[in-house]
Amino acid sequence: MLLAFAAFPFYLFSLWKRPLLYVGLALQIAYIISRGLTLGRLPLVGPHDTLTFLSASMIAFSLPFHRRLREHLQYYSWIALLAALFTVFALVAKQHNTPLPPVLKTLWFELHVVLAFLSYALFGIAAVLGALYLKRHDSLLESMQYRSILIGYCFFSLSMIFGGIWAYLAWGTYWLWTPKELWTSILWLFYSLYLHARLRQEWMGRPSAIIGIAGFAVVLFTYLGVSLLMKSSHSF
C-alpha cells in the first residue's frame, strides 16, 4: 500500500522539479507490476486498480509530447496534477483482491480494459492540451490535441471491438443494452463528432478544442459515474 501512495508526492513535487515525474511514474509502474504478481492476473478490476493504471498511463503518454511542447511548462503541471488526483482517488477506492469471476479470465477482457484506459488517458491529455490552447492560442497545442484524440479514438474503437468479441463469447451477443454500453456509445459518438467537426473551417480551433475538453467530462462520467450510479454488465 505504501508503494501505491509513493507516486503521489512525486507527482505533486514534479510541479517544481520535473524529473520527479519520471520517479513517480517508475514507482507507479512498479506498484502495478507487484500487484499483478501478487494477484496472479492483470490488476485491472475495480476503481483502485483502474485509477492507478489511468494515472500511470496519463504520465507515460504525456512524455512523447515533450519534444514539441518544451515552451509549455504548464502542460506538465496540469498532467501531473491530474495524475496525482487519480492516484489519491485510487488510494481511497476499495481494492478488488478476490479471485476473478471465470468470465473475466480471457485475453479479450484484458485487451478490452487495457485499451479503454489507454484511450481515457489520451483523452485526458487532449483535454489539458485543449484548455492550454484556449489560454495560449498556440496552434501547436490544438494540433497536439487532435493527435491525442485521434490515437485515443483508435484505442477506444479497438477496445469496443474486443469488448464485442468477448461479449459474444461470454453472453452470446456482441451488444447489450445497458447504461454502460449506452454511455460508451455516447462517448464514441462524441469523439466522432470532434473528428468530423474539426474538418470544417468554422469548427477548427476554439470550438473543436472545447469539444475535446467536454469529451473528457463524458469520459469521466462513462468511467466513474455510470459504474458508481448505475447497474450494468460492467459490474462484477
Partner: protein, 247 residues
C-alpha cells in the same frame, strides 16, 4: 428537380453529418436517462430489438425510434459523402491517405448493418437445466446436459466451471461439446452459452440459446473500421514527420 438537388446537397454535406451526430448523441443521452428508470428495459434482451420496441409504449421507446431514423440518415450521408470523395479524389497522389477515411466509413456501415440484422432476426431463449435435462433447440434436434462441473475455492468463490453437452437427432448422438467460460457451444447457427450457475442445493445452470445474424457482419465491420483507422493514423503521422522536417 429542385427538391432532388436539395436532397443530394443535404446528403453530401459534412454539416449534415455533424448535426446528425449531435442529434444522435442527444437521443442516446435521453435514453441513458430513461433506461434506468423504467422496469420495461429489463426485458429488452428477451426478443429482437424491433419486436421489443413494437410491444412497448412509445413513451419509453421514442428515443430508440428517433435514433434508428437518425442512423438511417447518417448511413445515407456517410455513403454519399464517401462515394463523392472517392470520385473527386481518384487522381490524387496520396490516394491511400484519402481513401482510408472511406474505409473507416465502410466499416461503420457494416457495423450498423449488423445491428439491423440482429435487431430484425435475432433470437434468444432461456432454460434452466440440470444434469440429464434434454432441451429441444432446432427442429428435431435435442441437446442433453451430460454433466455440470463447478470449481469452488475454499473461500466459496467460483473459480471455474464446465458443462458437457451432446446433441441428439432421432436418438442418435450427432455431436458432443464442452461449454466453458467464454467458450459457448455453436450448433447449426445457434450460440448456446451458460448465463448463470447454481451449486446448492443442487447443480443447475441457466442456459441461453441465441442467434445473432449480425455477428459476422459486426466482426467484419470492426476489422475494416480498424484497418482504415490505423492506416489513416500511420499515413498522417508519416506526413506530419515529413512536414516537420521542412519546417
Amino acid at each position: 428537380m429542385m427538391i432532388g438537388k436539395q436532397l443530394l446537397s443535404f446528403l453530401l454535406s459534412l454539416r449534415t453529418a455533424i448535426w446528425l451526430l449531435c442529434l444522435l448523441i442527444i437521443m442516446l443521452f435521453a435514453g441513458a436517462v430513461i433506461m434506468p428508470s423504467h422496469q420495461e428495459f429489463q426485458s429488452i434482451h428477451a426478443m429482437p430489438l424491433f419486436e421489443w420496441m413494437n410491444v412497448q409504449a412509445s413513451g419509453i421507446t421514442w428515443w430508440l425510434w428517433a435514433s434508428v431514423i437518425i442512423l438511417v440518415l447518417l448511413s445515407a450521408n456517410t455513403l454519399f459523402c464517401s462515394i463523392e470523395s472517392i470520385i473527386k479524389k481518384r487522381k490524387a497522389t496520396q490516394w491511400l491517405l484519402l481513401i482510408s477515411p472511406q474505409i473507416v466509413h465502410i466499416g461503420f456501415i457494416f457495423i450498423l448493418l449488423a445491428h439491423l440484422l440482429s435487431s430484425l432476426e435475432g433470437f434468444k431463449g432461456n432454460a434452466v437445466a440440470q444434469e440429464g435435462t434434454a432441451l429441444e433447440i432446432a427442429g428435431s434436434t435435442v441437446m442433453r446436459i451430460k454433466s455440470i462441473d463447478l470449481q469452488i475455492d475454499p473461500r466459496g468463490y467460483l473459480t471455474g466451471w464446465s458443462v458437457d453437452v451432446e446433441y441428439l437427432a432421432d436418438g442418435a448422438v450427432m455431436q458432443q461439446d464442452r461449454l466453458l467460460p467464454n467458450k459457448p457451444s455453436l450448433y447449426k447457427g445457434f450460440n448456446i452459452h451458460v448465463k448463470d450457475l447454481q451449486a446448492y442445493p443442487f447443480k443447475a445452470i441457466l442456459l441461453e440459446v441465441s442467434r445473432e445474424p449480425g455477428a459476422l457482419w459486426a466482426l467484419a465491420g470492426g476489422i475494416i473500421f480498424m484497418a482504415g483507422t490505423i492506416t489513416l493514423i500511420v499515413l498522417k503521422s508519416r506526413r506530419s514527420e515529413r512536414l516537420s522536417e521542412y519546417i
